[in-house]
C-alpha cells in the first residue's frame, strides 16, 4: 500500500538527496598503490639543482658489522629485529640476544630503561636514579650506554632473569643490543656480550653510491667531481624544510667550508652540519636552521647564557655580548657568552644569519679556554659561509 499522498513528495525528495549524497561520497579519496621507478632523493636533488650539479645521488644508511662470539648461534631476524642470536648452555637454558634499531632518538633513556626493568619485573625508576643505573662502555663504534638488570628470584621453579642492555646513537638512529635470560647464564655471558659490543663497527655513513667519499670538509659540492660529490654532511636524517613559514616551502641550504682538522660528526635530525672541534674534538659546533627569527637577538643570547649557566640580561645589556660581521653578502649577528666573564667554565660563541625566511645558527660550545683558542678559526669558518 502506498503512503498517503501528502507524504509522497518529501519521501521522494529525501530519497533523491540520499542518492546524490551517495554519489558525492564517491569523491572521497581512496588509498592508492603503485610502483615508481627509483628516483634520487627529491630534497637532495633540489639542493643539488640549486647548485648546478646534476649527478643523482642515493644515500646508504650506515650498517653495523660485528664479530659474533663462537658459542652464539645466529637466528633468523624477524619483526623489528635487525639481528638475533642465542647462547645456550649444556643444561638447556639459553640467552636471547637481539639487535634492534629505531629512527631518531628511540624515545628517552628513562623510558627505555624502565621498559627493560618491566621485562625483568622490576619497578620503574625516576629520572634521578637513572645515572646510577647506566654505565658507559667506550668502543670503536662509539660510546655505548649500558644497563645490567636482574630480577629477584620469586621461587625455586622460576630462576631469576637478568638483562644486559646497551644502546648507541648513530646517524640519526639508535641501536639497541640486548641479552636476556636466566641470571646465572647471562652472568657467564656478560664478558662475551661486552666483547661483542666492542667488536661493533659501522660502515661509512651516508656515502653516495657510485662515488668515493671525498675528504674535503665542506657541505658545498665540488664543481667538477667525476666520481660523485661528497654529501656526507648534507642532512642525513629528516630535516625541516627551509622557508617553513605559512608561505610555500623551499629546500635550499647555505654552504660552507670547514677547516680540515675539524671532524665531521653525523648531523642529527635538526642539524644541517655538525663538527667536533679542537684538541680531541672536545668542542661541539652545530649548524641549525629554524623558521623566523626564533625570538630575536635578546631571546637567543639569553638562551645561550642559560645554557652555560649565566643569568639572563636585559635589552640594554645586549651590546656587551654582541657584534656583527659580514661575509659573502651575508650579515652575521655574533654573540659570545664569555664577553663579560671570560673565566666562566663554559662558553658559547654563536652566529646567526637570517636567510630566505630562516635563521641559521652556527654555535660553538665547550670549555671556556678551548673556545677562546678556537674562536679565530670559528670566525674564519663563518667567512666561508655563502649562498648556493
Amino acid at each position: 500500500m502506498l503512503p498517503p499522498k501528502s507524504l509522497l513528495r518529501p519521501a521522494c525528495l529525501l530519497q533523491l538527496i540520499a542518492v546524490l549524497a551517495a554519489v558525492a561520497g564517491c569523491r572521497d579519496r581512496e588509498i592508492r598503490s603503485y610502483r615508481t621507478p627509483k628516483e634520487a632523493d627529491d630534497v637532495i636533488a633540489q639542493a643539488r639543482a640549486a647548485q648546478t650539479v646534476e649527478q643523482p645521488v642515493m644515500r646508504v644508511p650506515a650498517k653495523p658489522e660485528w664479530k659474533v662470539p663462537s658459542d652464539w648461534k645466529s637466528q633468523t631476524a624477524s619483526g623489528m629485529r635487525f639481528a638475533s642470536f642465542t647462547a645456550a648452555d649444556s643444561n638447556g637454558g639459553s640467552v636471547d640476544i637481539s639487535v634492534v634499531n629505531f629512527g631518531g632518538t628511540g624515545g628517552d633513556e628513562l623510558a627505555n630503561v624502565n621498559r627493560w626493568r618491566g621485562q625483568v619485573k622490576l619497578p620503574p625508576i625516576g629520572a634521578d636514579d637513572l645515572p646510577k643505573q647506566v654505565e658507559t662502555l667506550a668502543a670503536d663504534a662509539g660510546e655505548f650506554s649500558l644497563v645490567d638488570l636482574s630480577s629477584a628470584q620469586s621461587d625455586a621453579a622460576t630462576p631469576a632473569t637478568r638483562l644486559l642492555g646497551a644502546w648507541l646513537q648513530r646517524d640519526g638512529k639508535v641501536w639497541f643490543f640486548k641479552a636476556m635470560g636466566p641470571a646465572a647464564l647471562v652472568g657467564a655471558q656478560k664478558d662475551i656480550f661486552l666483547a661483542f659490543l666492542k667488536s661493533v663497527r659501522f660502515s661509512a655513513p651516508s656515502s653516495p653510491i657510485g662515488g668515493s667519499v671525498a675528504t674535503s670538509n665542506t657541505n658545498d659540492l665540488p664543481r667538477v667531481t667525476p666520481a660523485g660529490p661528497d654529501l656526507s654532511n648534507l642532512p642525513t636524517s629528516p630535516a625541516l624544510s627551509a622557508g617553513a613559514t605559512l608561505k610555500a616551502a623551499s629546500g635550499t641550504i647555505l654552504l660552507w667550508h670547514a677547516p680540515s682538522e675539524w671532524t665531521v660528526k653525523a648531523a642529527g635530525s635538526m642539524r644541517k652540519g655538525s663538527y667536533a672541534v679542537g684538541p680531541g674534538g672536545a668542542l661541539d659546533l652545530s649548524v641549525t636552521a629554524f623558521p623566523g627569527d626564533v625570538g630575536g637577538p635578546l631571546a637567543n643570547v639569553n638562551r645561550w647564557l642559560g645554557q652555560v649557566g649565566l643569568p639572563p640580561i636585559d635589552e640594554p645589556g645586549l651590546p656587551q655580548y654582541t657584534s656583527h660581521m659580514e661575509a659573502n653578502g651575508l650579515v652575521f649577528f655574533l654573540a659570545d657568552t664569555g664577553a663579560k666573564d671570560p673565566t666562566h667554565e663554559q662558553r658559547i660563541v654563536a652566529a646567526v644569519v637570517f636567510w630566505q625566511g630562516n635563521s641559521w645558527f652556527f654555535k660553538l660550545m665547550g670549555p671556556t679556554d678551548l673556545v677562546a683558542k678556537e674562536k679565530p678559526e670559528f670566525t674564519e669558518f663563518l667567512g666561508t659561509v655563502h649562498t648556493p
Binding site: 615508481t36 623489528m80 617553513a244
Partner: protein, 389 residues
C-alpha cells in the same frame, strides 16, 4: 503511471520550481561572491558550489547547521526540472528541433559541470631547467606515502589520503606488513624545534624526527598565495607490537625510515601525486617582456617528452594559451620562479573536458536552427502577404 510518478512529474514540471531554483542560485552566487573575501576562490567553490548544503557555524560553538542549499543540490533539482519540463511541453518534431538541441546542450552543460566537479583534478609541476618529472602534485590535497624502498629496481608506494588520518580507524593495506593507526591530525600546523622553545610543547611522537619537534596547530588558510601544512601523528603497529608513533607533516621534507621484517619503508606526508606513464624534462625556459617594461609578453617552456612505451620522444613548446594535451592531461604554462630557471605548469586532468565544448556547439546549433526556422517562416509570410495599394 502511479500516483508517485504523477506526483514527481507534476513537481518537476512546475515553472514555479524553475523560478524558485533560479532565485536560489542567484542568492547562492551572491553570497559566495561576498564570502570570497574570507575564503578565496577555492574555498567558496568547495563551500557553496561543490556541496549539497551550505553549513554555517553557530557563534561560540563547534556546531555547524545547514542554512542554504548548495550548488549540487540546486543542480540536482534544476536538471530533472529541465528534463521533465522539456519532455512534457515539447513534442519531437522538425519544427521544434532547434529547441530540442538547445535544451540537450543545456542539460549536457549541467551534467558536464557536475562531472568536472567530481572528476577534475588540478595539479602542478615545478621543474628547474634540466630536471625531469614523472608526476604532478596537487595544489590542495596531501597524502601520506608509505614507500617500500627495499627493492633495487623500483619503489612500491602506498598513498594514503590525509582524510583517512582524520579518523580513528587503523589503515591496512595488503602491501604493508603493518597498520597505520591515526593518533592525531591537524589540517594546518607549524612545527617548531622543541630545543629552541623556552617551555617546549609536549609531543606524541616516540620515533623518527617527531620527538624533537612541537606541533602548533594553525587555522586553515584559503588564500591562494598561502599553503596549509597538514600534520599528523601516526603509530606504526605490527602484530608484534608498536614500532613507534611518528610525526608526519608536509613541513618535514625528508622521509622518515621504518625498518621491519628486513624491509625498509619511507614515511612522508607530501602533496598528492599523479604519476604519468611518461617523463617530462625542461630543456629551456624563455620569458620575454615588452621592451622597456616589466610586463610579461610571453613565457614558454621547452619540454622533452619521453613516453615509457618508447612511442614518443619529442620536443614540445608549452606557452600561454597553447597547452600540451597528452595522456589524458592538459599541461598549461602557469608561471615561473627562481630567476626564470623554474617553470610552473598547471596540469588539469578532466575526463569530461570535451563536454562543455560539445554542449556549447549543440546550443549554438539549436539556436541557429530555431531562429532560422522563424526567419524562413517570416520571409514566407512576407512573400504571401498581399501587396499594398
Amino acid at each position: 503511471m502511479t500516483d508517485l510518478g504523477k506526483g514527481l512529474v507534476r513537481f518537476f514540471n512546475s515553472l514555479r520550481l524553475t523560478v524558485a531554483l533560479l532565485i536560489l542560485s542567484i542568492l547562492l552566487i551572491f553570497a559566495a561572491t561576498l564570502d570570497q573575501v574570507h575564503l578565496g576562490v577555492w574555498g567558496v567553490q568547495e563551500k557553496y558550489f561543490r556541496s549539497f548544503l551550505v553549513f554555517a557555524r553557530i557563534r561560540g560553538s563547534d556546531l555547524s547547521l545547514p542554512i542554504f542549499p548548495g550548488g549540487y543540490l540546486l543542480a540536482a533539482f534544476l536538471l530533472p526540472n529541465l528534463l521533465v519540463a522539456h519532455f512534457c511541453r515539447f513534442r519531437l518534431s522538425w519544427r521544434k528541433s532547434g529547441i530540442w538541441l538547445t535544451h540537450i546542450g543545456l542539460i549536457l552543460l549541467l551534467v558536464g559541470q557536475g562531472l568536472s566537479g567530481l572528476l577534475q583534478r588540478d595539479n602542478q609541476i615545478r621543474m628547474d631547467i634540466g630536471q625531469t618529472r614523472r608526476y604532478s602534485e596537487s595544489f590542495r590535497e596531501a597524502e601520506l606515502a608509505v614507500i617500500d624502498v627495499t627493492r633495487a629496481d623500483f619503489d612500491q608506494v602506498v598513498a594514503i589520503p590525509v582524510s583517512k588520518l582524520d579518523g580513528k580507524q587503523s589503515i591496512q593495506n595488503p602491501l604493508l606488513p603493518f597498520q597505520i593507526r591515526p593518533v592525531a591530525y591537524y589540517p594546518n600546523a607549524l612545527l617548531r624545534a622543541r630545543s629552541q622553545m623556552p617551555s617546549p610543547l609536549p609531543t606524541l611522537a616516540t620515533a623518527g624526527v617527531g620527538p624533537e619537534l612541537a606541533v602548533e596547530p594553525a587555522p586553515v588558510t584559503y588564500r591562494t598565495d598561502e599553503s596549509n601544512f597538514p600534520t599528523a601523528y601516526v603509530e606504526v603497529v605490527t602484530t608484534e607490537g608498536s614500532l613507534g608513533t611518528y610525526l608526519v607533516s608536509s613541513m618535514i621534507v625528508e622521509p622518515q625510515e621504518v625498518t621491519y621484517q628486513g624491509r625498509t619503508f619511507h614515511l612522508i606526508l607530501r602533496a598528492e601525486r599523479d604519476y604519468f606513464p611518461f617523463a617530462l624534462t625542461l630543456t629551456k625556459f624563455t620569458h620575454d617582456i615588452y621592451p622597456g617594461t616589466e610586463i610579461p609578453k610571453d613565457f614558454a617552456s621547452t619540454i622533452q617528452l619521453k613516453s615509457d612505451d618508447g612511442r614518443d620522444d619529442r620536443e614540445i613548446r608549452i606557452f600561454m594559451n597553447n597547452p600540451l594535451r597528452y595522456g589524458g592531461r592538459a599541461f598549461y604554462q602557469a608561471g615561473y620562479a627562481n630567476n626564470d630557471r623554474t617553470t610552473v605548469l598547471q596540469v588539469v586532468r578532466n575526463p569530461s573536458w570535451l563536454v562543455p565544448y560539445v554542449s556549447c556547439a549543440l546550443i549554438a546549433l539549436g539556436l541557429m536552427i530555431e531562429f532560422g526556422i522563424h526567419l524562413i517562416g517570416f520571409f514566407r509570410r512576407r512573400g504571401k502577404a498581399p501587396s499594398s495599394p
